[in-house]
């Protein structure tokens, strides 16, 4: 029987964010917003969800008058992503 896909990752914006963070060491909010073509509000909400689940780590620092949010994957997030990919592969193999 096929496992369910992790609902936290199986969402367009969250999956896009995690895919980016998996291929870099860290990325800030501006970079993620630009690459995912999302709105600041929506991205903030999705980052919060990923952070609450312990999949990403979001560090906020003050740079001048602006707040800079830098995100990076946690070990838990990496494992969840690897497991998500494994499940995806199972689904695609069944479909063949």
């Amino acid at each position: 029987m096929l496992r369910d896909l992790d609902p936290l990752l199986h969402s367009q914006l969250r999956l896009a964010v995690v895919s980016i963070l998996m291929s870099v060491e860290e990325a800030d909010f501006v970079f993620l917003k630009e690459k995912t073509n999302s709105t600041a509000g929506n991205l903030s909400v999705q980052l919060e969800k990923l952070s609450e689940a312990g999949y990403i780590e979001a560090n906020r620092t003050l740079e001048g008058r602006r707040t800079r949010t830098v995100c990076r994957m946690t070990e838990k997030g990496r494992q969840a992503f690897a497991s998500y990919i494994d499940t995806l592969k199972d689904y695609l193999n069944v479909g063949k």
């Binding site: 969402s11 999956l15 896009a16 980016i20 998996m22 999302s38 995806l88």
Partner: protein, 204 residues
């Protein structure tokens, strides 16, 4: 990006699309930084050479301490510019961090021994700086696979060994060393910097 229910195939496509989008930022182009350092150091070397030449005073050698000021300044500017840090960036950063510490340690060892023996002489910093800078550029070139950064530092190493040999034999440095130092930065930093910048413009 709007929220919608993804199929398995769409998920894989999205992952691949995001990785490709990130890859575009991975094309590390260290050309700009090479040019900053290259021009700053070469101009500084020439200025110190000319000042010593026309005033006959070695006091101008302290001008080399401006390298530390420029280092701090460029570190601050560089940090503010970055919106993403790739694994390559992190590795290169760590290489330069170690080399930076080597500069600091060398400086303090020379200063402490100078104070103990009552003879402050930072001339050893010059060949060792060439060695550290050359190693840094060469290792960075190996990481980013840029031959124009890997091999030119051989000139820095040659000048470094020449200076060390002169120190061993005659215990004496000449004003010409300032020019040689500047020349090594022209070959190791400025020329590769322009070539790399030109290459990355062609790619775009």
């Amino acid at each position: 990006m709007e929220e919608k229910v993804l199929t398995e195939k769409e998920s894989l496509e999205l992952i691949s699309q995001m990785i490709q989008a990130t890859k575009k930022n991975r094309a590390v182009s260290p050309g700009k930084e090479l040019l900053y350092w290259g021009y700053f150091t070469s101009i500084l070397a020439l200025t110190i050479y000319l000042l010593i030449r026309f005033t006959s005073s070695g006091i101008w050698s302290w001008g080399w301490m401006l390298m530390f000021v420029f280092w701090g300044f460029s570190f601050f500017v560089h940090k503010r510019e970055k919106t993403v840090v790739t694994y390559i960036d992190k590795t290169i950063g760590q290489v330069w961090q170690v080399l930076g510490w080597m500069f600091v340690i060398t400086f303090w060892v020379v200063a402490i021994f100078g104070a103990i023996y009552g003879r402050e002489d930072f001339i050893l910093m010059m060949p060792l700086s060439l060695l550290y800078c050359g190693l840094g550029i060469s290792i960075t070139g190996i990481i980013v696979r840029e031959p124009w950064m890997i091999y030119p530092p051989l000139l820095s190493f040659t000048i470094c060994f020449y200076m060390l040999q002169v120190l061993v034999i005659s215990h004496y440095a000449t004003n010409l060393w300032n020019l040689l130092f500047g020349l090594s930065f022209v070959v190791t930093y400025i020329i590769p910097g322009h070539i790399i910048n030109k290459k990355s413009k062609v790619k775009c």
